[in-house]
Subunit: 344 residues, 2 copies
């Protein structure tokens, strides 16, 4: 058997502002052989997610950055090719942080079997994976939606926002989405069933938001920041909740926006409206994973939660696709097809 | 009997920036006679509190502003002079929002009897009143102090901060106060038992705070805003909590500070450190009032909570005293002696 090639996307440089092609490096090396207690995984679907921008920077955050020259970090669905672990057999479909590459070794830690009978395996990266669980845990634990309340969801057509809004509808909220194009807004209303969806690129976005939220805003699910947040702030009702799981609009920003400094305005709103602003990452609610998979897969089967995936073919296209993700060019959960899906 | 005079401090104008003498108007009128279902109260101790600055402004907040020409709003300890209500007898000591005046009518709503045997009646405006309950409810419900954590308390010698820090000590926290003079800092450490207290007017305050919080900050009890908050923000630990009950440093500010706009920095900290920033007012926890009085009065009797009052004589001096309060000129809970305390 000829030696197989492992293509890997390495972090070549820490981006200044928006990542560019030269911040990544596609290299080839022989596929590694698993040692004792290891499995070799062949990646099928690679997840691209906004949090990866944080891993490219040296700035302190909740997780360590990827080092220069290391394989870019990422969750993926893969198939076990060779196994020296009792728990995994060749052919098993698994989820793990196997990274931006064709093949990865694993000692089994963080590797989790995925049941192809439950749903298409790619959904374990999206609606039934980390983004879906981010939506579920942040909305229910922090957002605490109540019937009749108004929920505003940023990045509403995306992997997280689409699930947030649909759960909001299930909980009886009036749900207003915010997205980045007329096509996305149409999808969010017509396919996902939000009550309204506004294009944040419209010049009169703030006025549109006020008109769409005549009863004020009780929950703002924040994963964007920037201008969307500024338009939301004056519309908050007393005791509004704001789960914060991402700030994609500011990830590529290299300097703070010009003045005045709006922090006193924000804090005044926190005080006078008794806002609850709380940051989280999905693993803060790790113990809710089984409940999440159970409930959301049930809602999918009942047709109450829909999802959309945006597939890009070829590992070599991952850097470009990731750059586009940070600009909102994707439409639905962004997934790179690294190799053919054997379950389809 | 000659007709008694009722002196009243009216709101004469909405302040631009810091309130000044001409924003208040001291007038005299006959003491009103209580009608059916009313009591006449003679004020003894008038409470001056930072929240009153909000009532002087027309800006939307959690409570309606005082109208121009109306009596300034305020809580006070008074004695029932005449009663046409079954629940109150002449001589009763009561707490109520009887305002900046010598005498007030009340229909009994919001009037609460104060037991002079429990503690000096003035404490029902401070450590056993609204400020003490603000400290108690905000720290325990939102701050959620755990043994060994670091708690930073702004305005540490004040009516709220002094109680926050002492409860923090009871809960086993390392407590670092922030106050506005060396005398206040000494009092906070030597009398109240905080582990440290820093003067926010020192040029190297931020460095001092970092040195005093070598393990980071788990709870910041915010009632000040401005430069103190800016120094705290970089020191937060993951999952830090920030109850926000006041922002005295920005109440008199008429324009936002110059740029850059620091909101993205704040939101980045919220996200990456999973902060919980939550505004509240004491009445959000109204159902905890009995528990608060019971526990804090117990701690006072045991010598575990101490308090300091700053008395000003004469209703006519209330406007000046209030102006000083917003500048931090008081030292302890600010109380105006409107008339002699009959229980002393």
């Amino acid at each position: 058997m000829p030696e197989l090639v492992n293509r890997q996307v390495l972090l070549a440089a820490r981006p200044e502002g928006a990542p560019k092609d030269s911040d990544f490096n596609l290299v080839e090396s022989p596929v590694p052989r698993p040692g004792d207690g290891q499995v070799l995984c062949r990646n099928i679907h690679l997840s691209l997610d906004p949090y990866m921008r944080g891993r490219m920077s040296a700035a302190k955050s909740y997780a360590k950055p990827v080092e220069i020259g290391q394989v870019m970090e990422g969750g993926a669905i893969s198939q076990v090719a060779t196994s020296n672990l009792a728990d995994f057999r060749p052919g098993d479909i698994v989820f793990g942080y196997t990274g931006w590459q064709d093949y990865a070794l694993s000692d089994g830690r963080g590797l989790r079997k995925v049941d192809p009978a439950l749903a298409p395996i790619s959904t374990a990266l999206g609606v039934l994976g980390m983004p879906g669980m981010t939506a579920y845990t942040g909305l229910l634990n922090i957002g605490q939606p109540k019937e009749g309340e108004t929920l505003v969801v940023a990045a509403a057509s995306g992997a997280v926002g689409s699930v947030v809004g649909q759960i909001g509808k299930i909980k009886g909220c009036r749900v207003v989405g915010v997205a980045g194009s007329p096509e996305k807004c149409r999808f969010v209303v017509e396919e996902l069933g939000f009550d309204a969806c506004l294009n944040h690129r419209d010049a009169d976005f703030a006025e549109q938001l006020e008109m769409a939220c005549t009863e004020g805003i009780d929950i703002y699910y924040e994963n964007v920041g920037g201008a969307v947040f500024e338009a939301v702030l004056p519309l908050f009702n007393s005791f509004a909740r704001m789960p914060v799981c991402g700030l994609i609009a500011q990830y590529n920003v290299t300097e703070l926006p010009p003045g005045p400094n709006q922090v006193p305005l924000l804090m005044r709103a926190v005080l006078t409206k008794r806002l609850n602003v709380r940051g989280f990452i999905v693993w803060d609610f790790a113990e809710q994973e089984a409940e999440f998979v159970d409930r959301v897969s049930g809602w999918i089967r009942e047709g109450r939660i829909k999802y959309r995936e945006d597939f890009v073919d070829g590992l070599e296209n991952a850097p470009k696709a990731f750059q586009g993700l940070l600009q909102g060019h994707n439409f639905g959960k962004l997934v790179v097809r690294v190799s053919p899906d054997p379950t389809q």
